[in-house]
């Protein structure tokens, strides 16, 4: 399924990176410095990439937890989301978010251990008697 994997130099030896690479032993591995070198380039074609999307393994540095826009919560007084991945594995015909990002490669942030302190910090900022929801998503939330 995944035939090309781009790997940021910084997380090349991260345990989660190694686990992912072990799942795709035949994939071509391409080193890069930052995922933006591959993901943010112009002149990419979503439909062509969707034929054979590549996987980009990266480290997330900031904006671990973001507030969900008004009206897009899943209940409770506060709604937050965090994206450990960009783009979606599927290509649903009915997807209302399709077309938001004009490329199809997947970005997986392997440093999920850095999301936890950010979630805890956000929790501490909220009132203890209010319901707080955290939603983990992929492009669903990048599209907002």
């Amino acid at each position: 399924m995944i035939e090309t994997i781009y790997i940021e130099d910084d997380i090349a030896h991260h345990p989660r990176t190694q686990r992912v690479l072990a799942r795709f032993p035949r994939a071509t591995r391409v080193p890069c410095q930052r995922y933006g070198e591959v993901f943010n380039r112009r002149s990419q074609n979503f439909r062509l990439q969707k034929m054979r999307p590549a996987l980009i393994l990266a480290r997330k540095f900031d904006n671990f937890v973001l507030e969900a826009p008004s009206g897009y919560g899943i209940g409770g007084a506060h709604n937050f989301y965090f994206s450990h991945m960009l783009n979606c594995l599927y290509d649903c015909r009915y997807c209302f978010l399709a077309g938001h990002i004009a490329l199809a490669n997947y970005v997986l942030f392997v440093n999920t251990e850095d999301f936890e302190p950010a979630i805890e910090a956000q929790l501490r900022r909220c009132n203890t008697d209010e319901e707080v929801y955290f939603f983990s998503g992929t492009i669903s939330l990048i599209g907002f």
């Binding site: 035939e3 090309t4 781009y6 071509t28 391409v30 080193p31 890069c32 410095q33 070198e37 591959v38 380039r41 112009r42 002149s43 990419q44 074609n45 439909r47 062509l48 990439q49 034929m51 054979r52 590549a54 009206g71 897009y72 009915y94 997807c95 209302f96 978010l97 399709a98 077309g99 938001h100 004009a102 490669n105």
Partner: protein, 290 residues
Amino acid sequence: MSFKGTTKVLTPETTTPGWVNFVVAHKGEAQPLIEHYGFKRCKEGAFTIYRSDDHTHLILSGPGKIAAASATAYLFAILGEHRDMAWINFGCGGHRDMQVGEVCHAIKISEHNSDRTWYPQSVLPHVAQAAELMTVDIAEKDFATTAVYEMEAAGYFALASRLSSVELVHSLKVITDNRQTPWGTPKQAAKTMHTLLAPCIALEQGLRQLSNEVTNRSNANHELASTFFSTWHFTRTQQIQLGDLLRRFTHLCPETCAVNLTKDQRDAKGVLDQLTTATWHAAREFKLSS
């Protein structure tokens, strides 16, 4: 295809999808392609251009990344700036350990002495072993890294990826020298080029099909956008906004005709506002129903 001598533009009599262009440094390197595709010289000028009968072109750039970039841009302009063409850079390179005659398909291109890198996106199976290319200004002798050293790819790719989707822009190299076998002459290098031909043909066939698909899709999108442009005046910014909105709108409301929906609007701003509202409502309805 007609050659308009005064304007020096080669344009087809009819729009034909599935264009493939080769950018090659030397005639010796291009010889296998010239023989296989039956290329005929069709234009002499700043660069020599060859054409085969099925809308496939080859341009001889000369050595170096600046020449390769210039030739790419020149051919693009000569061919009428058709945006969805596929591009293949075909040539020779050197590697520290790889055997002479081995063939490589670029997955990463770096420019020596700069931070610039490019990543060809392969949506077709690799036709040869994947390799990183390092573009240098003079022929490499030391091979300090494990990249394939060559002299054109960075310039070629930097330009071609601005003229087409990166998925349609590729570089194939055959190893002609290594630490044991130093670089000889272009003539000597040309003798090994035949090993590159079969993978190149496979790549060309795949890319031609992709170019065809992209062209057909672009034509449909342009037709839709053109309908709007012919009715209302859109600024350049508004044109880009319209493109984004239509992309989302056609996904969310495939049964609704965008042109009919907006036909009563007085100006481009009204069109954009109405499409934005319709798209937002469609997204909300989906969310509420799911």
